[in-house]
Each structure stands twice: as structure tokens, then as C-alpha cells.
Symmetry: D4
Subunit: 250 residues, 8 copies
């Protein structure tokens, strides 16, 4: 009887009440994904408590959107923690991590790199191998074409672009694997803090593009990792070579 | 030298000039995906010409957003064509098609079914096996939970919802495979023809959700098929059983 | 003659002219509700004058959106005043206050707590008993289900959520008492400072949901208190046990 | 252990699979609310099947947004069904229904009456007594004041207004019971199909106002009935006489 | 021949080129209105130069949106200048100014006073007599009604309101002279920095209301003064007594 | 005591309850303005009843937004009624009406004429004399300049423009009397049904401009008539000759 | 003295008053551009009168947005008129017209062709030679690259695209002559009738792109013709060969 | 075979990989345009490296949106660099630069000058001669007319305006050369940071206007330079004298 099965699944997921929030205590056993911390806006006390608890449970921690001050506080207590000031990613990673498969993270400009790094480091933290292809916006197409082999070789491509966000459509037309498009808030005036790029990507007439929130590098990295893992055996069989694309604008 | 390789890849993609448009003549050889027709707004003459050419090349055709009148015209000449008035999908499919893996297509209400069927039939046309779970909106959670095993058993879940679009977040919190969210134009007033549901889905704090355009069942079905194919061997190994999810709202 | 009655009602409501504003001098006699101060943007002199006058009249004061500096100023003169830095609520409460009935205040995440506390403390100030259920966002449904008895036991449920705001619909589907939904400005990118959550909640297809302004914890707490008071005798008769819900998405 | 209790509650809610949708089979036993049909966009076959099934289960049916053609079809088979062309409400009601308490439904203009009637007839169907006060927009305040006693005597007031929607704030300032505000799509130009009225109502600085979707008379009627039922005993004790209001704009 | 006349009119308007801008040198001779300075964003040097030149020409100066620092600089050189920190109006006025007719400036709350004062002081500077009626928002109607005689006695009423902006409609329904509505950026959340109040006012169904930009006290004061001057003789004949209003919502 | 006076004023305004609406029975005695009918969306029965009742009371009627069918119905019973198919104004006017003062109604293009005529005929119905200056959009400035004497001779100028709506600013810079700007829904694409023109006019940096709703010719005509009446004696004294303008962009 | 010169220029531009509009009688003598008619929404009588008058003056006429019915009426009287049902352009052209220089009109899809043809035929009518490159959207880059020589050989490129509008950025990155971007209303869902494409183009980080209104083929064709004429001699000198582009995304 | 040619063109464009970005190494040889730096948001190290590399390659550099701090850092190492604090343009220019043709840059107010200077200095850097006409907004038309000869004498006119942005339409109606319209973020309230001016300009009914992003002085200056260069020989032949305009609002 399926209702019971569903309920069983739910019942297996305990959590720990911290008062101000709840931490999933048994997740690591059930899935491959340790809990991730969104540091922005968290008080020092709360961040330290959550960070410590997850470290105890999992032996590794990923926190995104950490300020320099937050990173300083954490690193004082956890000297093994690594902070990247560009992407604001703060993490303790297990030393023996193996990165598999291939995710490509592509940006239109250099200003999109912080979001791209959040995506790349998230995917790497979960165990994906990542290739970075930065500053290949569509207004200089030869830069993109010069890196096409890298992009076409990945199981999943994350395209990161602000302003008009056209990169996603062009990349979408050149690869046959799923493309995760991340609009960024890079731009000014009518870019409306990334809404314009979001609309561009949502309206893309290239096949195989799906979109996450503005500046949501984490979400794109997570989704790309999920897809990369699914394509793992597949790509080992050399299917990447067939990685060409449907060019009809549906 | 990579630029040359990229150029070679592009050079291998010829097309046929129809005057009013261009058809990709060699796609079938290169990829698994035949060209798909977006019938809306096409004149009868153009639709017939494109439909016939693709049928000659591929032996099968998928057209979306076909009106009843367009379907009538095509079916008169191609009696083997099948038209679904709900989803407005018109197709000729090869008789020997095998459907593999598993895509779940889930809707919040019955009014979302046309978009869901466009997604489901697209994925099926490309070769995916599809499970349909309809009318399980979040305001009656027990309906969704009663079908959870089907949803958690898929390699990719397409969630289709209009109005407030909350279904995507709830489904996203219950599965660990990628979720493709399709906002629909179902609703009235402040639903703004689907923009509200689109915003809901883009802002979802569940992990693993990416979004396509409002009512874009085709795009979701295409993306879901890509992911399903990648997960094929994976799921044969029973990984679906581990299909549980990160419940932390990042 | 009803016009006269209406006019009489209006005529009974005198006020005191402060020059820069007007204070209702006789309200306490007429209603159960003392006047409440919206501290944001008020000058120190004005805030002190209004706070003092209301304290003289009512013996208790509730001020919302008070900055730490404003609170410091008030507390120096009124040492009995209590300030909560999270919700920015500043108040002097009568010592003998009895809290009746039950309002549940539910949040999707920890970042929504400041708005939730404004709602909870407002309802408490007026005399409601409040249960807090925090960090039960829909992406981790088991956390919400684990607290369902508390939520279903209330006369009115205030749901507080930012980002996609899906919590309101799910809660709305699980209880049969009125739900007051408060969108918050928590989120980034396409959350547009809470507009996305507001749209989600307004479009909810669950029955019994009504919405207040973004971050308007006070308004939700006030409304919830009104409803809670109406349900007082009702719930004493144990009707809360029947507190189940219409699950049809109208 | 609360998780189990929650799950038990969910397990008690079976439904009937119709293929295109699901009907809640046991609702009447659990709650006071029969299932309601949103007729807009439903095919004749689906509407007839759902209508019939609910009639068999409950002995009464409420359908909203029914077209004249839909009503004709239903009335042919169910001659006891009553259709109101203004509000597009179609219903079979039990003959012995008793209406209790008091809900006031107030409109700004005559063009808002269809939405107001959807609200009023919904509340009446569920068992509330309703007073209608129509065409009392704020540009002619004496009309509103002449009906103030009716409005102040209700347990809950539904205010229905399009264009600038100012009525909700004025009514909100004159009563002390909860006000449910319904923006309507009445207006032109910058009314943007009701969005302007929705914004007005959401931003209201009167206390005790919560808002539902544009033209959502059903939602307002449902919510008003819930509140009215809670206030039933309360109003029998004459508390309505104290029904005055906090005039401070928080 | 009218084209020539028009051109003559234009030719009579010389100006003085300052390099960074242009000052109208002969305006005072042609009209009753001296040039007014919008101080916001002007450099100290430019502000001082423009201020001085206009003072030399006209013997009086009105500057709006002046910061405290700008005011300090000007007042050091022109000790006779008066600065109002609330409205940010900085001015030197001729000592013998006579104020005629009557403009009423009405606000919904105390937070709207800065914009109201910009309007009031602008109208006064040009020669109108102004009555101020502050903090009479529609959620406490008795405060407004208590001041109705002042409002109805004016040749033109400026209504200043943020949040939902309903005051304009109510005032518009109570007077028969033109109403100039000024939305303010007071509010939060869905007030969208005054856009909501602007939409409310533009959609008002009361007659005789026209709207200026958000926070544009200057524009409203200017327009009100123009209208007041036109009504001067009229009001001296006591027409104000007939100052009642069309209550039909057109 | 002013509250009583205000209440007296309100009490003097009786109305007649029609069930579906209310008609002001004594307005003509109190003000110069007969009640006006907004015909759009009214049922034939309601329109006929309201039209007849007002005709009985006032001996003249003004209805706006009347369809051809509505006009036909009315004209059959009231052969003296006049219908203008361009502006959709339907009216019975007293034969002895004298038009006084001067209102100028100016349009940018010929497509704006329907709205302009609604304004012009409204002002005329109330007793203003109106000059029409059509098709003088700012892209052909010589056309506007050739009619400048007419525009500058009016007590109030109504500018009617769609698309970019720049006409209001240019006219605002050429006259010193109040300008009422009416955005129209003329245009396509980014004109967004008049919102673009509305924003242009609201942001105008010319002095003395106030704005009404998109396509609201009636509102502009009403306001212009109010102002024109106030300027009546004034303009008889030849003040129109001084009708020049402040050219500083405040 | 420059003011006089300016006025002289304006004075030299007479027009003919038609009552409902104004026609420029001497334009042909002054400029190379005959007056153009925007037929949409014009009554038959007005269209015929304007069309005839311009034909008499200029011997040729260009009308855009003409319906089939309007075209039928005109063609009956002017058998030499030519109507293109795709672009809705109706024209009588002088037989001896010579087309000079080169404008390229490029579309993303076949659905953009009507707008593209309005642009192309406008430019041709004024005397430009036009190359059409249709259906070269960025999701199939090889189609665009295969036509690059045509695009790079033009003095001005008009890019016409709906949906996400990315074509403009890619073309902008491949040519060094000015690009006029025309967003079209082609698309659905979040394309918002062309607003999304408009935002994409306005935010383009490619150099040398400027944008006209949604679907404004006429405006783009006019602007492209102006630029093409300026480049006439230039391109005769073979400068087109150097037609390469700045690829830095500024 | 055109595909090969296109590919050849692309292959000729090498670039230099900096890791965080890519610099075009051979551009100067191919085009007249050196690479331009958008300084905003660049780190000091990156800015210095890019600035130095371009200086080495081209002997001159143009950087826009440079902060005072960035300028200080660059000027310390490159004393020949010139920084303009108004426009935030930082540049090293070759001493022997000749400015040709004529671009006119026109602003509505003094607050628009920073954007105008970015446009003017960009065009000058590339080799155009520029005339500046500032503070000629449409609310004081005589200022614009007094400078009409300068504006009409240019090969391309850049109009820069915030607030309502009406200047572009008026200028567009007075010249026959292309107009590039730049909306600015100058304004407040409903100007929405320049979106209102952008909409005004996009909807302009004057011919020959195309629009760039809000505050995008660089883009306008680049485009104007391209057009100016094309008109070079043309204007030497005195065609500027014929520089009059189509006044029909298409």
C-alpha cells in the first residue's frame, strides 16, 4: 500500500531541534549529500553552532555566501577550513575526495565569475570534476568556439551570464547534454538586477535549457552534479563524442 | 588546435534552405533527436512542407501546438498520424519504439494536464518511459503522498503547476533526482498568466529544481528525456531505491 | 435612522492633536485595543512623546520596528520596557496579562523569524496564547508533519515565508481554521524583496488563506488575535479536534 | 510521538481516482465542508461526472464560475439546480439549510456585484447568514455611513472593490471584526486588471485587513464563513455592540 | 498669422548660458514665477552660482531637496536664508509677501509631512495661503471629518499619502474643488516605494482628482497655487460655501 | 464644533436605493453637476433605469463609454439623445446651455481623438467652451507651434497622448495655466496599453502638469471644467495674455 | 543669430489641415522622404483620403499595418497598389526606383518574418538595397555562420528576433557596422509579448546595437536606410571588407 | 563556400588568456577600434593588468566607469592618463588624434551631463568631433531651438535624458540624421531608475530614433561614432544643409 510506504520514507527522516532551526541528523546515511549552510544573514552564534554540528556529523562542511568576517570566525576555530573570497564559499573538505565525470561551468564575462565559482565549488564539493571556461560571451564568438571541445565534453553545462544573458541560448545550441542556466545580477539600467537575464534564459528557444534563480550558483552546481553523476557510466563509454545538438528552434 | 576542431564540428552541420526557413538535413545521423515542429502560427503550406520533409528524412515526426484544423490537414495526407486534442501534439511514431528508464510527470490540478501531456508525449516520442501523476496539488497533500513511490522511482520528475506553483518545491523536497518545473498559465487575477507560478518555482528553496518557460511542456519533456537517458544504466542498478532527498533549505 | 447612529459612533471618537499627529485618547474605553506605535522613521522627540502619552493612558505600550537606538532611549526613561532585538518589538506590558486561546505562528526558515516574532508578540500583547513552529519549510516536509498537531490545534495559523512562499499553501491544506499568510522579504534575485512570495500566497489554491503585506508581522498578529478571540469559546468545546481540511483545490 | 499522529491524520483521507482528477470521498464525514467545483474550463463530461458524484455523496453541490452553457447542461439533468447568471454560481442546496451568524458583503460599485455575489452565495451555501451592502464606494461617503450599522454588526466583513480599491481601508477603519478584502478586475487603464486594487488593499494601513486574489469571491466567502462560525457564540452574547475600531494607522 | 506669433513668444525668452546649465534671465518680468532650484545632486559650486544669480535677479529664491550640508553652505553666505530640515526646503523670501486665497494640504500620516511641507511651502512662496491638515488617514475617518470645514473651504486641496493612498479618493468625494494627489514613498513591502499609492490615486473613481509624481510636493504645490490664484475672486464671493461634491463614482 | 458641521454636510446627501445601485436624488440642488453614467458593462435594464431617473431629475443626461447597441436602445426611447460614435458619449443636453471660459483639448495624433472627444464633450456638457487642437504631436513641432495661441489662450489645457506621451511636457513648457495630461492606450509593443505614456506624464519635469488615468477623458474634462470655471472672471480680465511659462525644469 | 534660423526652419514646414489630422504638403521638396501612413485603426474614409492626397503629392505611397480589407479598398481604386499579406505593407512605388547600398535584415525564426519584411520593404521603398537572411537563430549557429558574408557586407544590419532575442548580441559581435535590433512579440509565457526580447537587446553587451520598439519593423527600416545612405560612398570604396568587430564585451 | 569564409574570419581573431579573462591581441590591426575597459567592479590587480596590456598593444586606452580610487592607482603608474571625475572616464590618448565629422550630444538637464560626457568622450576617443548642447529639456523649448543649428548640423545626434525622456522625440522630429537616445537614471519616484525614460524613448513616434540601455553613454558614443564615420564624406558634400525631417508621426 503506497501511502504507508510514503509515510515510512518520511518517518525515517529525523532532525534535531536547535530552537532557532532544525538540523537533519541522519542525512549522510541516507543520501550522498551532506547538509549545506547558507551563511548570509546568519548570526555568528547560529553559524558556529550549525557549522560545528555538521562537521561533527559529516567530517566536512560546505557554507555559501559567507562574509569575510564569518569566514574569519570559522577559520579561527577550524584552521582546516578554506575560504574563497571571490565566491564567498567556505568549506572543510575531506582530504580523499575523488572528482568524477565532468561538469563545465561557462561565463559570459569576468564579472560573472563569483557566481560561477559558487556553482563550480559546489559541484566539486559533492564530487564532480569541473572544467571552467570563463569570459566567452557571445559578443566575441571566437572565444567560445575556441573552447567548444571542453564544453561539448561535459555531462552537464552550467552557463552563467548577466546583462542580456544570451550565452545560454548559444551554448544550448552547441551541446546535447542538459544546460543549467544561471542569470546573474551583473549589469546596470534595464538589467534590473538580473531579471532581464532571467527572462532571456527562460525564453530561450534552444532545447535542453532549464533555469535557476538569479545568482544561484549553488542551485546550479547541485543540479549539475546530480546530472553529472547520472551520466557517469554513460560518458565513460565515450558517448561524449556524439555530443552534438538539435539545432531546430522548436 | 581546438578552434579548428570547433569549426569542423560546425561545418558538419548542413541544412536545407526552404526560403521561409531552414531544415537540418543530416541531424538524425548525428544525434538521436529528429527535428521537432512548433506548429503554432505556421501557415498550412509551410506546415505541410516541413512535416513531409521531416517524415521523408526520419520516418517519424513530432509537432506540438497543432490546432485541430492543422491536425485535420495533416491526417488527411498522413492517415498514420495521431493527434491528441488535449495536448495539441500531432505525431507519426515508428511502430517499434521502445520506451526506457522512467520520467514522472506530475500536475497540481486537472487544468495543468494539457501542458503535462505535451511534456509526457515529447519524452515518450524521444524514447523515455513516462509515469503520469495528475491532480496532486499541495492543498491536499495526502494525494501526493499516496503516489510518492512512483515519483521517487523516476530518473527525472517534471512538475507542472499554475496558480501559486507550490508543487515544485514540495516535490523537490521529496526526491533526489533532478526536477524540471513547468509553470502553467492556469489561474486568474494575480497569477498573471503564469508569471506568478514562474517566480515561485525560480525562488524555490528546495534543491535540484530548474525551471522552463510558462506552458513549455515540450522543453521540459526534452530536458527530462536527456536526463532520463543519462540515468538509464544508473537506475538499472537500483539506485532509485536510494532516491531520497536533502531537506535543508539551502 | 441609521445615518445618525453612524455619525454618533464617529462622534464618540475624540483624539488629541499633537501638531505633528493625533492620538486617540479614549480608545481603551471603547475597545480592547490600546494604540500601537510604528516606530520606524519617527524622530526621538516624537517617539518619546507618543510613547509616554500612551503609557499614561493605557499603562502599557506596544511599539514595532524600533531600532536599537530608539529602544535605548525609551528604556532609559522606562526601565520596565522590554526590547527584542530580533523582532524589533519594544513594549511595556501589564504584569497580570492572561493569554487565551491559541494562535500558531509558523515559519519556512530561520530567516523568517524576525517577522514571525513581530506577529507572535503582537498577538501575545493583545492577549492571545501563541505557539511557535519555526523552520518547517516545504522542502523538508517531515519537519512540518512532525509539528502538525500544534498547527492543527490553533484557532488561527499565521504562516510566515519568503523566497517562494509555498508554505502557506501546504499549511492551508492541512488545517481548517483561517490561515493568515505573511510574505517576507527573505530571498534574493527573483524574490524581488518579497513580491514573489506575496504573489504565491495570493494565488494559493488552498482554501481559507488571506494575505497581508510583505514583512507585516504586526498586521498578521492583529488579525490572528481577532480571529483567535472569536474562536475562544468554540475551541474550549474541543472543536479543535475536528480541525481538518477541505482538500479540494477549488 | 507527533510524527505518527500527523501521518495518521493524513492516512484517514482517502480519495477516488477519476483518471483526469481525484475526488475526496469521505470529506463530509470529517469536516463540515462539501467539496466545491471550479467549473471554468472543465469539459462538459468532466463537469457532469464530478457534479454527479458530489451530489450522490453530499446531497448538495456548489459550483462556481459556471458558464450559461454549463449551467444549462447541469440543470437539464438536475432540475433542482439553481443558476445565478450574475455571479455564475450553480448549486443544489439542501432545503433545510439554516443560516447563522452574520457576514457583511460590501461593494464599492455595481460592477463589483458579480464577485460579491460569489462571496455571498458561497458563505450562504456553507451556512452563514449574509447581509449585502452594495454601491457604497468611498467617493460618496454618506452612502457607506448610512449602512454602517449593518457593516458593524457582522462577525466578518467582505469588502469587494476594483479600480483604486480604497473601500477596504475605510471599512477597515470602521469595524473591529476581521475584514477580508477582495480586489476585482473592474476598472481600466492603470487598474491593470485588478493589480492596482490588490496593491491598495495589501498596503492598507487599517488594522485587521487580509486580502485574497483578484475576483476571488469564493475564497473570501469561504474565509468569512470560517470566521463567522468562530464568532457565533460570541455574537450571540452581544459583543457586536462593542464592534468599534482601532483608528491608529499603525 | 499664428506661427509667427508663437515664434515671437519663444523669441522673447532669453536665457543665460552657465556652461553646465542655463538660467532664464527675464522670467520675472514675464511671469509671476521666479525660477526654482532642485538642489538634489547639484555640486556646491553649481548650487551657489545658481542660487546667487537668481537672488540677484529676483531678490528671493526657492530651493527644494536641499541637504543639511547644502543649506549650511548657503546660509553662511546668505544669513537671511531659511532652511526647514523636515521638508528640505531652503529659501529667501521677500519680507512683504502677502498670501492669498486658500490651499489645503492634507496628509494621511505623520510620515507624509515632509512631502506635504514641500507642497505647502512652495505654494506659500508663490503667494498662496495654506491650511495644513495632517494625520487624517482614512483608517480613522473621524479625524478627517473633524477637519472637513477647513478642507472644503479651500480653492484646491493637495492630498499627500503613501502606503495604499486611499485618502485622495475619500477627500475627492468630499470636496468640489480640484484635488491634486501626491503619492509618497512612505510604506514598505508591496508599497514599492510609492508605486502602489500612485496607482491607487490614478485609478481613483472620485471626480476631480489629478496626480503628480511620487514625493513631488513641489509639483503639487505649484499646481495648487495656479488653481488657487484662478479661484481667488471666485472664493471671495463665497462660492466655497457651495463646495460640495458629485458623489457618483463615474 | 466642526465635527458636527461635517456630519451635517454628510447627512444632507440622501440617495435613492435601486437595489443594484444608488442614485443621488438631490445633487442638482446642491451642486452644478448632474450625475454622470459610466455605461460600459451596464446591463440594458440597469442603464435604461438609471438614464431615465436622471433625466427625470435633471432634464439632461451624460453617459460615457456607451456602445452603439446601448445608444440605439436609449435613442429609441429618448429621440432627443445624441450619440457620438467616436467618443462613445451619449447625451441629452438642455437646449439653452451657454459655454463659458475656455478649455483647450490637444492631441498628439488622430488615434487619440476618441479620448479627447470624451474630455471635450464632458467639459462642454458641464458648461465650458472648448477649443480642439488635434494631431500636433511633438515629432512635428511646427504643427504645435502654429496653434500655440489657441493653447495659450485657455484657462486649462487637456493634453491627450499615447505612445511616448511627450506632448504633455512640451505643452506644459509653453503655457502657464494648469495642464491635465491624459495618457491613452494608443500604441503597441512597449507602450503597454498606455502605461508608458502614463509614466512619461507623471515624470514630466515641466511645471503645472497633473495626470489622470489612461483613456480617462471624462476625468480630464471634469477637472478641466472645474479649473476653467475658477478662471472665468480671471480670464475676462485679460490675464490670458500673460499666459507664459516657467521654463526651468525644476 | 541662431534662434531666428531655427524658427525659419520651422516656418518653412507648412501642412494641410484635414480636420481629423494634418498632412505635410511640402515635404518631398525638402527631404527625400515621402510621408508614410500607419494604417492600423484608421477608418476607411480617413485612410482613403490620406492615401489619395499623398499619392497626388508624391506619386508614390507607403502604408504599413494595413489589413486585408483596407488593402482591398485601396487596390480597387489604385490598381497599381501592391499589398503584401505577410508584412501588411501596402504601397505604390515609382517604377524607376533604384536601390543603393546594402541593408541586411536578419531574423531568428520564421515567425519573425512579418516584422522583418516591414523593415525590408520600408528600406527598399526609401531606396535601399536589402539582403534577407531568415531563420538563423542562435540555437543553430552554423546557419548564421553560413550567411556571415552577406551580413558583414551590409552598411547596416537589422536583426529581428522574439522569444529571448539573443540574435542581436551574436550579430552585434560579428559585424562592425551599426546594428538596429527589433524585438518581436513572437513567443509565449514569459516572453511577455516581446518585452523579454526588448530587455535582452537593450542589455546587450555587444557594441554598436541600438533598439526600436517591439514589432517596429518600420522604424528599423527607416533608421537602417538613413545609415545605409550615409555609408554609400564608403562602401563603394570596399570598406565592407574591413567589416570586423570589437569583440570585447565592454 | 561561405561557411569556410565565415570560419576563416573567426579564426583570424586570436586572444590572450589572462585566466580571469581574455584580451584580444590583434584587434588594432583588423579594426579601427582598440579594446575598451569597463572598470566598474574590477579588482585593482585585474584593472592594472588589462590597462597595461592594452596600453602596450595600442599606445592608448579608454576605460569607463572608473572610480576615483581606480583612477588614482592608474595615474600613479601612467602619469599621462587623464581622468574626468564627472563622467568617470579614464584615458590615455595619442597626442596626434584628429577628430572628424560631427556628433552632437544633447541633454535635457544638467544632471544628465555625466552620461552625456561618457558618450562624448567615447566618440572623441574613437576620432569623432563632438558638439555638446546641454540643459535644453523640452519644458523650455526656446533653449533647444536656440541651438537647433548645431544639432541639425551633426551626422548623428545623441540625446541624453532622464525623468520623462521626452527630449528624444522632440529632437527626433527636428533632424533627419539618426538619433541615438540614452535614457538616464536621473529622476525619482515613478522614474524607476530610468525605466520610464527608456519606455518613453522606445515608444517614440518620431522617425529615426534607436535606444541604448539606461546610462549607457559608452554604447551611444560608440554607435554615434560608427554612424558619423559613415557620414563623413557625405557631410563634406554639404548634405547637412538638407538636414530636415519627416514630421509625420508614423
Amino acid at each position: 500500500m503506497p501511502v504507508d510506504d510514503a509515510l515510512q520514507a518520511l518517518r525515517r527522516q529525523p532532525f534535531e531541534e536547535l530552537g532557532f532551526g532544525k538540523i537533519d541528523a541522519h542525512r549522510r546515511l541516507r543520501t550522498d549529500f551532506p547538509e549545506v549552510i547558507f551563511a548570509a544573514g546568519k548570526s555568528d552564534a547560529h553559524l558556529m553552532e550549525i557549522f560545528s554540528r555538521i562537521y561533527e556529523m559529516d567530517g566536512e562542511v560546505l557554507a555559501t555566501r559567507a562574509t569575510e568576517a564569518q569566514a574569519g570566525m570559522i577559520c579561527e576555530r577550524f584552521p582546516q577550513a578554506v575560504y574563497d573570497g571571490i565566491s564567498k564559499v567556505l568549506r572543510i573538505e575531506r582530504p580523499d575526495k575523488v572528482h568524477k565525470g565532468k561538469v563545465a561551468v561557462v561565463t559570459a564575462g569576468t564579472a560573472d565569475v563569483p557566481v560561477a565559482e559558487e556553482a563550480a565549488q559546489t559541484a566539486e564539493f559533492f564530487g564532480s570534476s569541473v572544467d571552467r571556461v570563463y569570459d566567452v560571451g557571445v559578443s566575441g564568438l571566437h572565444r567560445l568556439l575556441a573552447r567548444l571541445d571542453i564544453i561539448q565534453g561535459a555531462n552537464c553545462v552550467v552557463t552563467v551570464a548577466g546583462m542580456e544573458g544570451a550565452l545560454a541560448s548559444v551554448v544550448g545550441g552547441l551541446v546535447s547534454r542538459p544546460v543549467i542556466a544561471v542569470p546573474t545580477s551583473v549589469g546596470y539600467g534595464a538589467s534590473m538586477h538580473g531579471l532581464s537575464a532571467l527572462l532571456t534564459m527562460i525564453n530561450s528557444c534552444a532545447n535542453g535549457i532549464a533555469v535557476v534563480n538569479i545568482d544561484n550558483g549553488y542551485g546550479a552546481g547541485y543540479q549539475a552534479h546530480l546530472i553529472n553523476m547520472m551520466g557517469l557510466r554513460d560518458s565513460e563509454n565515450g558517448n561524449g563524442a556524439e555530443n552534438e545538438k538539435n539545432d531546430s528552434c522548436h
